[in-house]
């Protein structure tokens, strides 16, 4: 298929996934902020949200004060913030519109409805009320998007690139979330004589729909190492890094056909690391170190996908 068509489909899916993850983090953070705590803590809490989205710089240019209302505004409707839900949804729809003829009617109509309904939400002041409802709506719309693709699209290259976009973005988002929270929570734990903040860690799990999964798998108190294992190495945990690469690998092999691509090699390398890796070894070098390397490698893979498939010039 045309590279441009594949590119639009891939980015449409990435932007939808990004929107969902921003909403997840916002929702959980907002709920955390309702718990009793001192105000300095709350500022740090919202700071982690900016760190996860990687937009601290842009935020500081626009806002003087770090508080819930500003962060929500910035992440939901600020059109100058490329990672805001507004910007991501607009980009998703623009990409969809450019290749309307390449997708099923249902997929297009779903994208279009998503954008029209979003127009209703941004008329409300979400910093006051309705943030949770809004985040729920984003999540369910994202579920619907994946469902309509899965349920209506021919299993051809178009479908492959949509799926590829979803898992590339999800891998990045999960790694960022875990990395930032880890950095934030471990020093607190040390300061508190090793006491684990139950609420903080369960919030991390909830933001990737992994709270129930954790209890099922470990039947144990929440421990940072186990949370990390669940979100990095468990293949059966759908938002884990391993699960994402278990999807990415076969897709890249399929779209490459008989060609040998750098993208497939990089993905295979990372997949092996996640498939055969042990938490013990990861901890030895530091979880933060591992995640930083992962985020860079994932970005590198994104660049190779772009080069090998989406802008084929060579």
């Amino acid at each position: 298929m045309l590279s441009r068509t594949a590119d639009h489909l891939y980015w449409m899916a990435r932007y939808i996934e990004r929107t969902e993850n921003v909403a997840r983090v916002l929702d959980v953070t907002y709920n955390m902020s309702l718990l009793p705590s001192d105000s300095s803590n709350e500022e740090e809490l919202w700071d982690t949200v900016l760190e996860i989205a990687g937009i601290r710089d842009i935020y500081d240019k626009t806002y003087k004060e770090l508080n819930a209302a500003n962060v929500i505004k910035h992440l939901v409707m600020d059109s100058s913030n490329p990672s805001s839900i507004y910007s991501s949804l607009r980009s998703a729809r623009e990409n969809a519109r450019a290749v309307r003829v390449a997708m099923t009617t249902e997929t297009w109509e779903n994208m279009n409805t998503l954008w029209l309904e979003f127009g209703q939400y941004i008329k409300q002041d979400l910093t006051q009320t309705g943030l949770s409802e809004f985040c729920e709506w984003v999540k369910s719309r994202s579920h619907l998007f994946r469902g309509v693709c899965f349920g209506t699209m021919l299993r051809d290259e178009a479908f492959s690139f949509v799926r590829l976009g979803t898992f590339m973005e999800r891998a990045d988002n999960t790694a960022r979330l875990l990395d930032v929270k880890y950095e934030f929570l471990i020093p607190m734990q040390e300061a508190n004589d090793g006491a684990v903040d139950y609420y903080e860690w369960s919030a991390v799990l909830r933001s990737v729909s992994a709270f129930q999964a954790y209890q099922k798998v470990y039947r144990d108190a929440i421990e940072p190492m186990k949370v990390s294992e669940l979100l990095i190495l468990r293949e059966d945990m759908p938002r884990s890094l391993h699960a994402c690469y278990a999807e990415i690998m076969p897709i890249l092999r399929q779209v490459a056909g008989s060609r040998q691509t750098e993208a497939e090699r990089l993905a295979g390398q990372m997949h092996a690391k996640l498939h055969y890796g042990r938490m013990l070894d990861i901890v030895k070098d530091g979880v933060h170190h591992f995640l930083d390397e992962f985020i860079l490698a994932n970005r590198k893979l994104g660049e190779e996908i772009q080069r090998n498939f989406l802008s084929a010039t060579a």
Binding site: S3, R4, A6, V101, G257, R259, A312, T313, A314
Partner: protein, 497 residues
């Protein structure tokens, strides 16, 4: 019938006497169908067209609104014998025009013979870049739209030739599909020549003009993109032919070849059915600020690395200033006498013609030489005094920019309008396809001027379309029609009750 029906030849009523033979069976049927039922069918068609997204962008309108081209449910019929004549004439014309294009970019025999003046070489549509370039099969206009009008039972005229990127064929195909859906019973009775094979013929022709040595050519359709007024047609044809619909950014040039960027890497492109004007094709040669084209495309084309359909530089042959020479071209290149006639045309670059035209503006139609789509023209009989005087000034300031023609008594065809069924003026654009052979699919785009008395059928000026029925034989038995219709009618009534 209104008075105009007597002034003008009507496709169904002739001059108001008996219903013409090929329409008699249809007329019987039509007189049994209540007008509201026809209006309901038209409404159904509109809903369906809108759902498919068959819309047309109108340039120069503030909101740039997407509009539906009005569709009329009453067909325009052409008898088998009429069609045989028209098709033969259109094919003859396109053969001569292709030969003219080859000649004008090579030996220029027609100029040497004194038939076409040397001044044609300074026409803005003449592309010096094409001199000496050899195109496969010497085909330049792979797709040609020949606009025909009728003024009496036996008189058809060629109004103009469209040899650049003629559009409208999607309406020929979609209108037919719609009519078959709305009135399947009529198709059982009438021997209507099918048109659905058009994309198939087009694709075969495009494949046949790949450079020699290419066994399985890759054909693509190059579109300016989703904001172009004819984008629907581009997407439609690409889909019907099963070829990629590409934009300029999808193509690139390397080692004297054109490639498209695909997920499987660069793929060589052999034939480009382009729906972009010459000016935008290659920013290195034509408009440097064009983002629609492909840098370097023309150089590959000139070296025979890719085929463009239509060829570059066809505009010099369909220019209104060249039009007057087409009958002579047919004699010169084919040694035949023209089957189809030109409208008598005054060339305002000639002093005598200019003087006559300025004296008779209220009777004439004046057209800009390079205008298209009904923009920049004066229709004398319907223009106000002020409009005529304004146009006079434009003519005097640059006479060579204009031609003039007598106002033609365009034939009318019964059409469903607000007041019921009334005669409206129509024209016809059959599409002539050239590859290894030259052929024309039996049908075309019938455009209808929906405003009472209007002679301008362009969609940008409020024109609509009709399905065109070319009959395979002319002996449509009214009796069979009648008896079957009666049965049908009984059935229908049963359903309606």
């Amino acid at each position: 019938m209104t008075q105009s029906a007597k002034q003008f030849f009507d496709e169904m009523q002739g001059y108001g006497g008996n219903v013409r033979a090929i329409y008699q069976a249809y007329n019987r049927w039509l007189s049994d169908v209540p007008t509201q039922q026809l209006a309901a069918k038209r409404a159904e068609a509109e809903v369906l067209f809108r759902r498919v997204g068959i819309t047309f962008n109108v340039y120069g309108e503030e909101d740039g609104a997407e509009r539906l081209i009005p569709f009329d449910v009453i067909p325009r019929m052409i008898s088998a014998s009429e069609w045989a004549h028209l098709a033969k004439g259109a094919v003859q014309r396109v053969r001569a025009l292709n030969m003219f294009l080859h000649d004008i970019y090579h030996d220029q025999e027609i100029i040497k013979a004194g038939i076409v003046p040397n001044s044609i070489l300074s026409n803005s549509q003449y592309r010096p870049e094409m001199v000496g370039v050899n195109v496969p099969n010497q085909v330049y206009a792979h797709v040609a739209g020949i606009d025909l009008v009728r003024t009496s039972e036996s008189q058809f005229y060629v109004l103009e030739d469209n040899l650049r990127t003629p559009s409208g064929v999607s309406y020929m195909l979609e209108d037919r599909k719609m009519m078959m859906r709305l009135f399947p019973d009529l198709f059982k009775k009438y021997p209507i020549a099918p048109v659905e094979h058009y994309p198939h013929v087009l694709l075969n022709n495009l494949r046949s003009v790949a450079q020699t040595g290419v066994t399985d050519p890759t054909v693509v359709l190059l579109s300016p993109g989703a904001y172009n007024s004819a984008y629907f047609e581009h997407a439609f044809l690409a889909q019907q032919m099963g070829i990629e619909l590409v934009e300029g950014q999808d193509l690139f040039v390397r080692n004297n070849a054109v490639y498209m960027r695909t997920t499987q890497g660069p793929q060589r492109v052999d034939v480009i059915y382009r729906r972009i004007d010459d000016d935008f094709l290659d920013p290195l040669v034509f408009k440097p600020d064009s983002l629609l084209g492909v840098p370097g495309l023309l150089s590959v084309y000139r070296n025979g690395g890719v085929t463009l359909a239509n060829a570059v530089g066809t505009g010099v042959a369909d220019d209104k200033a060249t039009y007057v020479y087409v009958p002579e071209m047919i004699k010169f290149y084919l040694g035949e006498s023209p089957i189809l006639q030109n409208v008598p045309t005054y060339q305002l670059s000639k002093e005598d013609d200019l003087a006559y035209v300025l004296d008779h503006l209220p009777e004439l139609v004046v057209k800009e030489v390079q205008g298209s789509g009904g923009y920049g023209m004066l229709v004398g009989p319907t223009a106000s005094k002020q409009e005529i005087e304004e146009f006079r000034l434009r003519i005097v300031s640059k006479p060579s920019n204009y031609i003039a023609q007598p106002t033609l008594a365009l034939s009318t065809c019964p059409t469903l309008v607000d007041q019921g069924i009334a005669p409206r003026h129509v024209d016809l654009r059959p599409f002539v396809l050239s590859g290894k052979t030259v052929s024309v699919v039996p049908g075309g785009l019938s455009r209808v001027a929906l405003k009472e008395g209007s002679l301008v059928v362009n969609s940008s000026q409020g024109g609509g379309t009709k399905d065109t029925w070319v009959l395979e034989r002319d002996d449509v038995s009214v009796e069979t029609m009648q008896s079957q219709m009666a049965a049908q009618q009984a059935n229908q009534e049963a359903v309606i009750c």
